[in-house]
Amino acid sequence: MRKKNVVSAVLLCAFVAASQPGWAALGGTPDTVQADQLQMHATRRVASQTGYEVHELALPSGTVVREFVASSGAVFGVAWQGPFKPDLNQLLGPSFTRLVAEGRRPHGHHRMLGLHAADLVVDSGGRMRGFSGRAYLPALVPASVAVGDIR
């Protein structure tokens, strides 16, 4: 029984990997950060913080993406700032469809979009030539991390 479950999980992972153009970072492993780096043609530098690492990807467009990796290996948050929005489908992975659903609901104006659920927080803001945003999975955020630092 136990073994069967493991096999199923492996097959599932293989299926997910094959069905997506790239592996999403949010909720993923540090390997997915490298996938993002390649997909976005970015340079990367890593800064260590207490209990987590910040992988900063500098995109050719001038936009900077930061991915927050817990010591457990989980990518618990991502953030972006710059003249263009990054590939949010790549960056948010399975969570992206929920951001899209939120954006399909009529809303007041075009400068901010927030999705604040118990299991997913996404904030997207800004104007042409100046965008910023962040997303995190509350369940994966280490207790020592203030969510305000995910930026």
Binding site: D87, L88, N89, R111, G125, R127, M128, R129, G130, F131
Partner: protein, 426 residues
Amino acid sequence: MRSWTVPALLATILLHGCGGGSSNSPAATPLNGSSSPATVAQAVNNVQPISVNAGPTGQIPNMVLTSVTICVPGTAACQTIPNVQVDTGSTGLRLLASAITIALPALNSTASGGAYSECAPFADGVVWGALVTADVQLAGEKASSMSIQVVQDNGVGPAIPSSCSAQGAPQDSLALLGANGIIGVGVFVQDCGPYCASNPAAMYFDCSRAGACSDVAMPLAAQVGNPAAFFAQDNNGVILQLPAVPANGAPSASGNMVFGIGTQANNVLSAGVIAVPDSGNAAGDFTATYNGVTLPYSFFDSGSTGLFFDDTAIAGCVAGGAGDGFYCPGTAVALSPVPISVAISGSNGASASIGVTVANAEFLFTQPGAASLNVFSDLAGPTGATLPNAFDFGVPFFFGRGVFTAFEHRSTPAGTGPYVAFQAYP
């Protein structure tokens, strides 16, 4: 009762974004109020009426709207489209395909012969659609044969590329746009600018190849531009003038969009000027200070329906209630106004404060007679983390003021753009 600070009334405040101005640019010099405007040989009508209401959906407060006339280039085949949102926070004219009845020529690639489409990014999603060429007319002004975007809301045209849809939800309907289109008259002359002129940026696409769209670079001259920067005259900036509205709100407000700065007698930027240094970012923002916190990404924005800033001392409205997403100081059975002050400082050493008021949004939206009230000068809300380090001076700020947007690289009597400024309502 609004709480105005004296400087806000007496001074004209000039704020420099980056990209052009520097701290020693001519705009940093106090403007001589007696300087006479440069006159053009034949002045044309440069005043376009604007109105503020709940928009064609009737659902969104503080929508600034105007009518835009588009024509097949060089012909009298024209159409006037009402209820187009006036947006100083973006650049370019974008109109719903379903609102256009004249046949505008597609903008084609000379290399491939295919047709160009655009993925215009906004914080809440993307605007996808084909580029066409049109003459654009407002008041007596005309921009000849410029690129505009047709927002694909009818399913006709190339499918949205994955690199576009990966940036967010398509805003492809009247309900989502809240208007028949957007006329962006921000500080930039083109929506993307130099980066897209030499790099594919998932913004411009050549949709020639077997129905597929390729991400391409786009020459500046063919990018979607700011119509007010392409007029034959009065093309260095725009002024939005709106009267004050009662604290409890009003059904609507009427004002003007005046083209040009210092080009005619009716668009002079006068009185003392305070210039704010560049904040080091590329979006034309300026630095404001609120509650002792420096906010270098602040901006004036007619496309924001409220004032948006973060202050944990002001209570947010109850989630799911009438005021959800806005501030609700005090009690929802009264206006409960809270005056606040935002400081802006100038490179000439002077500073000024902007006074605005935050009212209880739930009261504004549920007070007796609320069903007919659409326009509020004291509607404000938090940004959460969506606009870090910013004070978004949305439409409430524009009431009772003339707000100037000077276009990049364009000369005005107060210096070269980009900058933004304001003075008391005429």
